[in-house]
Symmetry: C2
Amino acid sequence: MRNTKQKQIINSVIEQLMHFTSDDLISKVNEIDSTIGRATIFRYLSELIEQKKLQKVYLDKKIVYDSCVHEHNHFVCEKCGKIIDLVQTQTISNPLGLLINRSSVTYYGLCDDCRK
Amino acid sequence: MRNTKQKQIINSVIEQLMHFTSDDLISKVNEIDSTIGRATIFRYLSELIEQKKLQKVYLDKKIVYDSCVHEHNHFVCEKCGKIIDLVQTQTISNPLGLLINRSSVTYYGLCDDCRK
DNA sequence: GTTAAAATGATACTAGGTCTCAATAAGTAA
DNA sequence: TTACTTATTGAGACCTAGTATCATTTTAAC
């Protein structure tokens, strides 16, 4: 994996952001260097995810990239759209003043048939 | 809301399916009547979701529609792609022989600022 | 420097939709 | 039963969030 000017710029932008959409990233990168193409940015995002340096989070209304890669839950404010990372101790017992209306839980693994 | 031939056909297909992607639905509907357009199907899907007769579920690799609308969790087999609805009692204590590798949890609600 | 492989940017294409709009169909009222 | 009004439809353009292709750079190892 080669160290390029493009990757350095993309890294410098990501370091400033906790959660971001691909569009957020593309526009901030292009403010610095407008010749960097979308394909390069998406390609590098995929690499970072592969390397577990970034996590892709699928929310109901949008997809965000998250620099926090250890397992944790997310809280999404349905009014302002803010995303808050919830680490273990904060999960349900709400020290952040969050009003939780609903939750979405998905488990990934192997089903009975595929374990055989 | 008018009762149309199109809605009847779409309903009859949905009744046969537990979880389906929009593509699944479109092709099965078009097997019955190939003149029914994509827009009609997506429009009606949105209506059904609005009416809480259907739930849209965002998984990492695909989006599925789920006829089970009460709050529940999902299990996705990472090998065969099967989706299993988990009702309360099955959640973690695994009577279905599932091997859970990871989970994704998102809470939706109002943050501290938006509650004020 | 040379050179070979990796990376880039332009561009076309994809999935899963939404939007627009003229044409059609549903259902009520006469 | 016909007339009329308004909802619904289908075609097609457009959108978001990407992926694939490929000729043209660039990197970094010699």
